[in-house]
Structure formats: structure tokens, C-alpha cells
Subunit: 204 residues, 2 copies
């Protein structure tokens, strides 16, 4: 049987060897990150060699250097997403939207501080934050919670983008690693500021 010519849907599942190599590469990357220090010392050549694969394979799998870090991040984001979608309130469903929004910000800030190095390295510069990682969950989730709040005269999509930026931007763009010598303090301060911002924005 021939595939319908115009079928959309997932173009085709990844081949088994490809999937295995992807996992292997990600694992190797993590190892290397743990051994050497900075994310910026991880080179594609080194990764390929260490994994015992060709460089072409690495690029075929991840497209770009940033792509590797995007994949790592996505991977780490997975159970974070689970908690948001199906975990306990107030992060998961069940709590009132305002509380969920606050809890989401708090959790996301913690996550980003934890993963700041990978998150930074996942930015490409020459292109917007890619679909599939980072924002989409944030943006969509925030947007959904905002919708429940029935704000009046509001461009929800834009507000969601703005709040996503207010949440991610500081850590992705503006704060130097020097500002994070005391991650715990920063975490608390940012979480608090987020709560304030949300309460101000959403107050009737």
C-alpha cells in the first residue's frame, strides 16, 4: 500500500538506529558537560568522537550546536511538563488559575536557574526561540490560565507573550552569571517579584 501523497501527520517515525544514536549522543553530551565545566567547551567534533560516531551524524540529528542543548533541555523539561499538566495543585490542575499562574512562574524560575547553562546555550541568536522547547509550553500554558481569568479588553496572546518574556527574559538575557552567585536568593527574589507582577496584572 502506498502512503497517501498529501498525508501530513508525522512524516515518519525516526529509524531505530537513529533514535538510539540520538539517545546515545545526548547521554554522552551530559557526561561531557558533567566532566568538563562549561557548556561552551563542548564541541561537535569532540562529542562525535567521544560517542564513537561521525560528525555528520551529530549534525543530522541536531541540526546545529544549539540544537543539542535544545534537545537536552526538552528532555529535562519532560517531567516538569508532567507536573504542570497532571501533577498536584497548585502547579497541576485543580487550583484556581491565579494560584496556578503564580505556582507555574515559581516552578519555571527554579527550573531555569537549575538549567541556566543549557538554557542559555540553547539560544540560537539567528532565529527565534524554536518551537518545541521553552516558550511554547510556557506561552500556551500562561495563555490558557489567563483565559480563565476573564480579563477585560485584553489581547490575551500578546499578554501571554509578554509574561513569558517577563518570566524567561531575565534569566535568558539579562542576568549575568555573577547575579547568580547565590541562586537560592535570586530564586526567592524572582519568585516573589513574579507573584507581585501577576497579582498586579490580574487584579480585577
Amino acid at each position: 500500500m502506498e502512503r497517501p501523497a498529501l498525508s501530513l501527520g508525522p512524516p515518519r517515525a525516526e529509524r531505530a538506529d537513529a533514535a538510539r544514536n540520538r539517545r546515545h549522543l545526548l547521554a554522552t553530551a551530559r557526561t561531557m558537560l558533567a566532566e568538563n565545566g562549561g557548556a561552551d567547551t563542548l564541541t561537535m567534533d569532540a562529542l562525535a568522537e567521544r560517542a564513537g560516531l561521525g560528525k555528520g551524524t551529530v549534525f543530522r540529528r541536531f541540526g546545529t550546536r544549539a540544537g543539542i542543548f535544545q534537545a537536552l533541555l526538552e528532555d529535562d523539561e519532560h517531567d516538569f511538563q508532567l507536573q504542570v499538566i497532571a501533577g498536584l495543585p497548585p502547579l497541576g490542575p485543580g487550583a484556581p488559575p491565579l494560584e496556578r499562574l503564580i505556582a507555574y512562574g515559581r516552578a519555571r524560575i527554579a527550573f531555569l536557574i537549575d538549567h541556566r547553562e543549557i538554557a542559555r546555550a540553547s539560544l540560537d541568536g539567528s532565529q527565534p526561540v524554536p518551537a518545541g522547547t521553552e516558550s511554547p509550553l510556557s506561552r500556551t500554558h500562561i495563555r490558557m490560565l489567563l483565559a480563565h481569568l476573564r480579563l477585560e479588553n485584553t489581547d490575551l496572546d500578546m499578554l501571554a507573550v509578554q509574561l513569558t518574556a517577563a518570566l524567561d527574559g531575565p534569566l535568558l538575557l539579562y542576568m549575568s552569571s555573577a547575579d547568580l552567585t547565590e541562586p537560592t536568593t535570586t530564586d526567592k527574589r524572582m519568585a516573589h517579584a513574579w507573584q507581585n507582577l501577576i497579582e498586579r496584572v490580574c487584579r480585577p
Copy 2:
């Protein structure tokens, strides 16, 4: 007379030839950007050759590829800054802080849409948004205006960073150029959303 050994302050003015070359390089870069299309087709080699200078000079002047775009942006920002600091209200001084804040956002959005390509290219990725360009004016200015509003129980510094991110983030990080096929529309929509955000945040 010898300079005091521990003097801080500007380490020394740029030498005349260096300054001339800097200007020349920036001008050449602009020309090339205007001729070829994208910012990503501007290579350091090409710039050096076109300017009739050595590659080393280019790097000495700007440090990094992103540095060139930062310099271009800073250059363009100069009269924008003038209007903010000494121009007519409501952008310049004289208007009530809330109105200035709204006007500032509106102006910055327009500026960023105008300069989106250079602004994007000026991001480094491996380091936070550099001092001297972009944020500092935004952050400082926003922070100053917020201070006039006497918000209660507020971490002004954090709020300023958040709002800066809400202002710059969408254009720097999240919006694809596809979203900007109709810059005028986007501009209006974002300006409106900014006004809404600010009014919500600053309402007593």
C-alpha cells in the same frame, strides 16, 4: 605628568586613527547591510576587505562579531536616547511618569521593529545582553519612572527587569520574522498591549 597609577575612569581615549577606523568600519558595515540582504551574510573578512583594513583591526575594534551589531545599534540608539532624556513629552521629561512609561514602550517597540535584524544579530548567546547597549537604558529608565509611581511593596529592580524583558523579549526572542510581515500591525498591537500591561501593573 604621569597618570596616577590607580586611576580608574576611562582607561584612555581612543586613538585618532582607531576612532576613524571604527567609524569607517561601521559605515562600511551599513553599506554592506544595505546592499546584501541579511545580517547573517556579513562576514568579518568581507567587512575588513571592503573597508580596506586588516581583519585583526576589525576584531580589535569590536571584539566579536556580535560586537559590530552592538555598535551599530548603540549608534542608532543615540538620538533615541536624546529624545527620551531631553526630548518633548510624553517621551521626554515633563509628562507624568505613567504616560512617559507608556510612551517609552511605544517608542522602543517601534525602534526595535525598525532595527530587529541588527538587534537580533547583536545578541551573543554566550553572554548576557552587554552593558552599554539595549537594556541598560531601558532598564534604568523604566526603573526611574517606576520609582516615581510609588508602588507599594515592590522590588523595583526586579520589576524593572521584568518589564524590560516584557518589552524587548517578544521581539528579541519569541517572534519570528514571519510574525512581522506586517510591521505596522504588529507595532500597533504590541504598543497597545504594552499600554495595557503598564496600566494594569501601575494601577493603585
